[in-house]
Amino acid sequence: MAETQQELAAYELAKKQREISIAEFFEKNRHLLGFDNKRKALLTAVKEAVDNSVEYHEPVLVKDKGLIKVVKIGEYIDRKLKESEITEREDAQSAKISGVETLVYDSKTLKLGFKAVSSVHRHPLRDKLYEITIVGNRKVKLTGSHSIFALKQGRVTPYKVSELKEGDFVVVPRKQFRNPDPVRFLDIRDWAKNLPAELRERLVIKGVSSTLTNIPRDWKRFDYVPLSYFTDNHLALPESARIGVKLGRSSIPVRITITHELMRLLGYYAAEGTCYDQCITLSFGAHEEALMQDAEKCIKDTFPNANFTRILAHRTAITIKIHSEILSCLFKGLGTGSRANTKKVPTIVFNAESDMQSSFLQGYISGDGHVGSKITMATVSKDLSTGLKYLFSMQGIPFSESVREETVRDFGKYISKCKKVYYIYVYPSSGRRNSPLNWLPLEESGFRQIIKSLDPKIGTLNPHYRMISRPTFTFESANADLRLAQSNRRGQITEALQQRIEHTEKLLAGEIGFLQVRTVKEATSSREHVYDFSVPGEEKFLGGEGVIFLHNSLDACEEARILPEVKVEIIEMSEERYRVIVEDNGPGIVKEQIPKVFAKLLYGSKFHHLQQKRGQQGIGISAAVLYSQLTTGKPAKITSRIGKNQPASYYELNIDIKANKPEIVKQSTTDWAKEQGTIVELELQATYQKGLQSVDEYLKQTAIINPHITIIYTTPKAEQIIYARSTEELPPEPKEIKPHPYGVELGLLIRMLDNTESRTLQSFLTSEFSRVGPETAKEICHNSSLLPSTKPQEISRQQAEQLMNGIASTKLIAPSTDCLSPISEQLIEKGLRSVINAEFYCSTARPPAVYRGNPFVISAGVAYGGQVPEGAVTLLRFANRVPLLYQQGACVITDAIGKTNWKQYGLSQSQGAVPAGPAVILVHMASVWVPFTSEAKEALAHYPEIIKEIKLALQECGRKLGLYINKKKKATRQLERANLFETYIPEIADSLATITGQSKEELLAKLKTMLNKPEIEAQIEKQENPQFDEKMKLELGKEEENEE
């Protein structure tokens, strides 16, 4: 029975293959992969590195080994890839990294904080590159499929760059970010390593030689010890030691406390300084005496031993020159940049305490800033301007920017060349309230809605609420208004409203702000690669010249818990010939089983197990392999790995059609970066099409009903569609139960009889079925006119039929329902939300019910409005989490929807038909035995119990939908009425003025005052439809004189 043992093992394995292993995925695709026609669905694996990425030069904020830096993403990731072990997938590279964090905001609290980056990615630019410009002229370059966070309908969610529109609000840091563990000292060990080697070799430690033994005599004699001596021997540096340059005269402490003076000095340097090998200079205007005195004070306080002089450079300029080679080294080590065009904000500034950062900015602005109603800063160094922007962002200071391109002006006698200048503007603290950064978008945040729900009269009649006429509102006054509106509120606040209020309060208390997108333009890159970070958990990072929160790639397997991810890729080889690659991260398939699973038809039948499964028979994948073999002659290529301790197995397989046996063309072990999963690659003849019965639709619907799965799909047109999971909650694993006798059909019964190990019919019945005890078994035998002692294997077909009848006439207890894995209301809603862009969602899940002895659970959901198209409602039908795309008309779900009266819920519907309106209706049936109308498994059969349950579920959804639609209609009507008079008043005033020659303004004013009359207000609040006097007009055919 070795074979049987193996089969059982395979089954055990299949059982573990939760949800969506390749085998099952294909199995269920059988009806798409119809073998009779070429309209075919094709599936696939997608490149590991996803195409959503950021351009090389874009800055990002990272905290690398505890140090905050602003780096160019491309440069940074290139370096990380060089240092790390690279995973290569086609033309993309990834590497896991540690010790790197990036600034994110917490999705729940909206507060700023650091979060670990788990890996970095690089791949060639395949997608279009876009440059997004937001308010303040802040910019970022991203690929079209990269997402960026935007505020819409009160929620902050990622939107694809290609879908981003002008006027959308994207997320940026708003509040000051306080570094929890700021750096307080400059330490030689931190800055010296940034120096070029030849310079580093010249650094010496002074004042320690006497404490050391076994060192060259010269060192003692001249009191110097090369720094390398300490670093090479891992010796601790005494804090009192000083550092200098070999043969140099000046020295500085190895550990320098970060003070306001030091920061101001660095600021002055960033504005005015130049760093030479032997000295540092700061250039001031001759009139800037106060500034020079302060600069000199800073030098003296920080480096008491430093020697500096003032030099009159020319009539209007004075240079302060600090004669210190070691100080020049220090500045180089801090990364201040040496010349005007290479200046940077030293890394140390980002890591200092917030008020130290202010001092740096203060120094910089007094040196380089022009203070007017705004403070203008100009620099020719792009890096410096980037650094300053990040610094302002960390300080919570709103800024805007502009660039003046390089200009050449010809004055005849001479030519003046102006370098490219980067301008940054900030408001002085008094003006910051007016900055858009402090404005709350009223509409997008849902704030206006809430205020209106709290007090519906607001804005139409009550002039107190001026806010209503403005598109945005400051966070501060929003807070006040929310409180005011809450206190004005008469009557109960509904739970839903309360939730929205709380949500808004969170938004107001959060540390992020929203700036409007000005333009989204296609852009170019001088680099062939684009880059991305993975930040598990938050999936975002702060980046771009514009300092914006960016959404990172979806990288699921990083987490300890494996969430299913399926990649499907279809490649067009030639017309009617496609390669399909499907990759999952499921548990993989044991090596020995691979040939049988993929190249033996009807292998692994599961007939004696009853458990809700996505697939129910083992024909699918091998049939696909067969189809591929018959149409193209190419073997199927399988790679599978079951765990990190096992290598991945690779097979090329054909089916020996005569013997129904696998034929192994090639077999090997191979390297695969993934710890577990399966890749199937097939080449077959097919046609690709879009529409309701396409692979595209199938995957979309699969994503809706399986919100815990991420699906990455690359179409034959090389478009990539990503359905990111919207929940990390895995569905409960269904429990296995034995079949209930009522649910068994004849063929199955015969197979069970053949395969059982029971010796008698009675024990067969008790051991193979649930809810059958010895007494019941005897009763069944009696009702079937069969002896309980009959050997199961000897039962003929006719006797099996007798047995069926016997079962039917015996009363049995209904099966238990814990063998089901229905999907919850919340998950249906999440699934709909993640894929369908509507304005209202509702869902419901029914308690378990039973038909013909089979337990089942119906769930339903509705998405309404938004971008859902008008016309007949779209139906999404599912059985055990598998979309049903064909034979909609024959399905019980369609029938039940038609039999539900949708008119009362606000949709239009003709008798018994599918309703019409901008809605999507979803129905899911979970059952261990789904009653398909045919083997094709495309439609569910009509059982009264099922119709009843579906109708009940739909009615429940319908009531919620109806409430929403009614409320919406009522609100629109009232608003329209209120506006109607106001809108028409100027028209009527104009007409009357033109006819009579009277003053338009007077008429206008008079008419407006009439608006407040009580009888006119009453008109606005009137509930019924307006009565038109035309109503009685009898339609006597066409109007007589309706000339064109």
Partner: protein, 360 residues
């Protein structure tokens, strides 16, 4: 004349401005133009408009749109047409009024029926006809026959205008008949039939006037027919399809329409006769095989028409309606062509007119 129309508009404006001045809801009295305010006058055999008026208010959700439209049209008529001495077509007026109110999604008018209605209302309010308000319909329709007229200083002989005939202007008030030697007028629903008769020189042979329009009978044509009848006592015969719509055309020319009941005085011609084709013609000329099955709407219309006051008590007409119902079919005039292309000229019309086989 022009000044009077202008005066009427200005006084309407002043009345409304006064309402505003006094803080009253501005309102216009408009004679109700619905079936309930239209009655069939048995004596004159015309549809006449009653006296019932309704107030149209500005601050009234049900009225506001029409109110604004009426005033808009009044403004256009005064400022753009009367003041400037220009004429515009109905379509022109529609486009002059059509615009979106700034800062809203509301259009003053969305389609032409709205301006057309507003103009009709303005006629009622000011008691001046559309033409007097300088609004014309489009030219539509042709005429030929032994008639000489003078129009805008030109002398036109309707018998010498080639294959196209004379195209009837929308305003026929200014036309003067110089010489009318024709004996009767045939008005036909179909331009194609007119072309047939014209090519066959039917009007010459029979010494009559043939007149047609494209589908609907415009006011201008009705007025022209009415003048030919009133000023030259010519009998008017209608040649239309044997279907509810053809009969409706006849009915409008004869008694007037609800919509234009206020114009019935100058438009309706109670003595007009229905020449054909009739239910009897179908049998006489063996046209049954050209039946077009009645649709649901046709049956509805037939029922409505058969209940018109002026048809209700007419036995001959009720007989025709019954015939149509029994055929359960309608017939086009062109069905006669099955008997030969000139059958209508050579035999049908001479026979019908000769025997005076007409419905009243």
């Amino acid at each position: 004349m022009r000044n009077d129309a202008k005066e009427a508009i200005v006084s309407l404006g002043k009345k409304l401005a006064k309402d505003v001045e006094e803080g009253k809801n501005p309102s216009i009295d408009v004679t109700v133009r619905t079936l309930s305010n239209v009655s069939y006058d048995k004596k004159t055999k015309k549809l006449l408009l009653g006296e019932r008026k309704s107030a149209r208010e500005f601050f009234n959700l049900g009225h506001i749109r029409k109110f604004v439209q009426t005033l808009e049209v009044a403004k256009i008529a005064k400022k753009e047409l009367l003041d400037m001495g220009k004429h515009a077509s109905l379509r022109d007026v529609f486009y002059m009024a059509k615009r979106t109110i700034p800062g809203s999604k509301i259009n003053i008018v969305d389609d032409q029926t709205e301006t057309d209605g507003a103009i009709e209302d303005l006629e009622l309010i000011t008691r001046f006809s559309r033409e007097q308000l300088h609004v014309n319909a489009n030219k539509m329709g042709s005429v030929a026959g032994k008639v000489v007229v003078e129009d805008s200083g030109d002398t036109i002989d309707w018998s010498r205008l080639g294959s196209g005939g004379w195209s009837i202007p929308s305003n026929v008030e200014a036309i003067q008949f110089k010489k009318v030697s024709a004996k009767y007028v045939i008005y036909m629903e179909k331009a194609a039939v007119w072309e047939r008769l014209h090519e066959d020189k039917f009007w010459d042979k029979q010494n009559c006037i043939i007149l047609s329009s494209q589908g609907q009978t415009t006011r201008g044509i009705r007025r022209l027919l009415q003048r030919l009848h009133a000023e030259h006592s010519l009998p008017i015969y209608i040649l239309a399809d044997f279907d509810p719509y053809g009969i409706y055309i006849y009915s409008v020319i004869k008694s007037g329409s609800i919509n234009l009941a206020h114009m019935s005085e100058t438009l309706a011609i109670p003595s007009v006769k229905f020449l054909g084709i009739t239910g009897d013609d179908i049998n006489t000329y063996d046209l049954k095989k050209h039946a077009i099955k009645l649709k649901e709407v046709d049956i509805q219309r037939l029922k409505q028409i058969s209940e018109y006051e002026w048809f209700r008590n007419s036995k001959p007409w009720q007989r025709q309606f019954k015939l149509m119902k029994d055929f359960n079919a309608k017939f086009e005039i062109q069905a006669l062509s099955s008997r030969g292309i000139t059958f209508i000229t050579d035999r049908y019309l001479p026979e019908k007119i000769g025997k005076a086989e007409m419905l009243d």
